[in-house]
């Protein structure tokens, strides 16, 4: 670690910091645009309609969120945006969902049960069309760039179900400890 690595580490510290800031600056345009659009969707009642539509499913996943809470609308739009591979639309919606969940949160510094469930589903990222991967496969002249779409969907559904089960397991373990 000491021989020669130190120089690389020094470099890594500052490129890491720079990457992070560049990433955040890049996020501004996306966040401003989608949160602007979502405000319109919220005020016109579109988000409420969406959450009413999928309420039976989401209610089971997030038992601690009240039925008519706006958090559900944001959670759903985040999941839908992820499904269509719209990563840049998904992030602002996910952040709004987190803000709404934070309002319901009792201990403001600590992640609530609903937040952990939401992030578990998010990191499993259900994808209908993995656009980036298809693009890479096309670049390298795949005979069938899209043949991985269905396997990806199945794998992602399995990992989402896994995420929900693991999340439940940890929740029950926490609540038994008190």
């Amino acid at each position: 670690m000491i021989n020669g690595k130190m120089e690389e580490i020094n470099k890594a510290i500052f490129t890491g910091a720079q990457d992070a800031v560049t990433l955040c600056i890049g996020l501004i345009s996306i966040l401003v645009f989608w949160l602007g659009m979502m405000r319109i969707a919220q005020e016109s009642g579109l988000l409420d309609m969406l959450s009413r539509l999928f309420r039976p499913v989401v209610k089971r996943l997030f038992p601690e969120v009240p039925q008519n809470h706006p958090a559900l609308g944001y959670i759903l739009s985040n999941i839908i945006a992820n499904m269509f591979g719209l990563g840049n639309a998904a992030t602002p919606l996910g952040i709004k969902a987190m803000e709404q969940l934070q309002e319901l949160n009792q201990e403001k510094k600590k992640a609530s049960r609903s937040m952990i469930t939401f992030l578990a589903i998010n990191t499993a990222s259900i994808t209908l069309i993995p656009t980036t991967v298809i693009a890479i496969r096309m670049t390298y002249h795949s005979a069938s760039p899209t043949e991985i779409v269905v396997p990806t969907l199945i794998a992602t559904i399995i990992s989402a179900i896994g995420a929900i089960i693991i999340d439940r397991y940890f929740y029950y373990r926490r609540s038994r400890k008190g």
């Binding site: 800031v21 401003v32 990191t123 795949s142 043949e147 995420a163």
Partner: protein, 178 residues
């Protein structure tokens, strides 16, 4: 497949059009609402900067110092035991940690082994079906100022493991081993 990618391409313009038309129909002051919502975006992007700088600097030191390689050597036997091919192990480990590094590795694997090989397909499915857990947790928790993540990281990483195994199994079933 063609229909799916058409939906994916047309989704954003149609969605935006629909939100604007519906908002106007419901007599929402669309421009004012857009601006109000957008303002929040700037605030959120700025709020995440310190969280992301901390996380990305830590990750880049982790990689530059050789700690990541050491970790890989440690985990590799276990991964092999689970039936994950040796070529895929570095990708499987880097996927939750760094999105750009994982994307680079995926294109590299596809370039070296060919997009229609077992490794090429497996890396495609793996890249498409999992997400950068550390990034998601940092951005979402950072945006609402949560410092105690609780079980979120454990749940996220275990779900990633489920996703990796699911990818291996599904690809083997769909395309056969090797």
């Amino acid at each position: 497949m063609y229909i799916l990618s058409m939906i994916s391409l047309g989704f954003i313009p149609i969605l935006i059009g629909f939100i604007l038309i519906y908002g106007t129909y419901k007599q929402v002051p669309t421009y004012e609402s857009f601006v109000e919502g957008g303002k929040e975006g700037i605030k959120i992007a700025i709020t995440i900067i310190p969280f992301l700088v901390g996380m990305l600097v830590a990750i880049s030191i982790f990689r530059a110092s050789g700690a990541l390689e050491a970790l890989m050597r440690l985990i590799r036997p276990g991964m092999n035991y689970l039936g994950i091919p040796a070529e895929i192990v570095p990708l499987a480990i880097i996927r939750p940690i760094s999105g750009t590094a994982a994307l680079g590795m995926t294109s590299d694997l596809i370039a070296v082994h060919g997009p229609d090989s077992y490794i090429g397909r497996l890396s495609s499915v793996l890249q498409g079906s999992t997400d950068t857990t550390f990034y998601v947790l940092t951005v979402y928790f950072g945006a609402v100022g949560i410092k105690k993540m609780g079980d979120a990281l454990k749940v996220g990483l275990l779900a990633d493991l489920v996703g990796i195994i699911a990818a291996v199994v599904v690809v083997t079933i769909f395309f056969g081993a090797k």
